[in-house]
Amino acid sequence: MEVGQMQRRLIEYTKSLFMEGILDDQFLQLQQLQDESNPDFVVEVVSLFFQDAEKLLNDITRALDQQSVDFTKVDAHVHQLKGSSASVGAQRVKNGCIAFRNFCEEQNVDGSLRCLQQIKQEYYHVKNKLEALFRLEQQIVAAGGSVPMMELSF
């Protein structure tokens, strides 16, 4: 596949992630911050998010597994996950966290467990999508092309 084709494919792929609500504007903000002095910025930030999210999801799972659930702790973890997902534009994960916090307030274990399942699904979904996006970018760069930028107006 030649570079032009790959670039078009990347743009279409990225657009679809926005259309499906998987990513939001914040991801575009991150791309705007990437430049020659900071060429791997987006990958680095997203990698931090992956590490953070996986740790938090484990912590939440363990906390909900206790005989007596400490909802203050669970809520604190969810709050952090909401923050980091919002920072990278992982919209569905962020929205899942907002819903989750309501169950924490109600001290609702079943609701929380269901929500956690949902968030885990959304997280692995966005992780797969972003990893595919980065692979597309790598292919373009390896072929000697430059990564095209998405327009901010959306």
Binding site: Q29, Q32, D35, L48, D52, V88, V147
Partner: protein, 140 residues
Amino acid sequence: MFGKGASSSKSMEIIGYEKKFSVLIVDDDPIIRKIHSALLSKFTKEIQEVKNGKEAVDLYRSGASFDIIFIDKEMPIMNGLEATKELRAMGVNSTIVGVTSCDLSSERNDFIAAGQNQCYEKPLTIEKIKSLLSELNKNN
């Protein structure tokens, strides 16, 4: 012309705010620190980061000073409001900008009462920084 992974958009170097200034980023979240650092580096090269309010206060006690402090509200050891009060009590005149992930409207009064000049919801964006700088420019 384009390096590895470089964006193809026009250069993001912001011209217009000519005055040099230094910033301190105070946040316990490394993702936020990284993003805000990259964001502010479009405007200035003098950036320092610390993890909580106490580290910010200690920096000032050791004699450091910054033009603008971007301070998160929720942090362990010493949070943003406490640190702001402490800094103001020490006589620090730097511009202090609160940053929060909570609903801003309900927290604005707390921020202003503690001595902050302005506050924003996380994460900061290019637009928010530009509007902040033009505001500060006008007031100088």
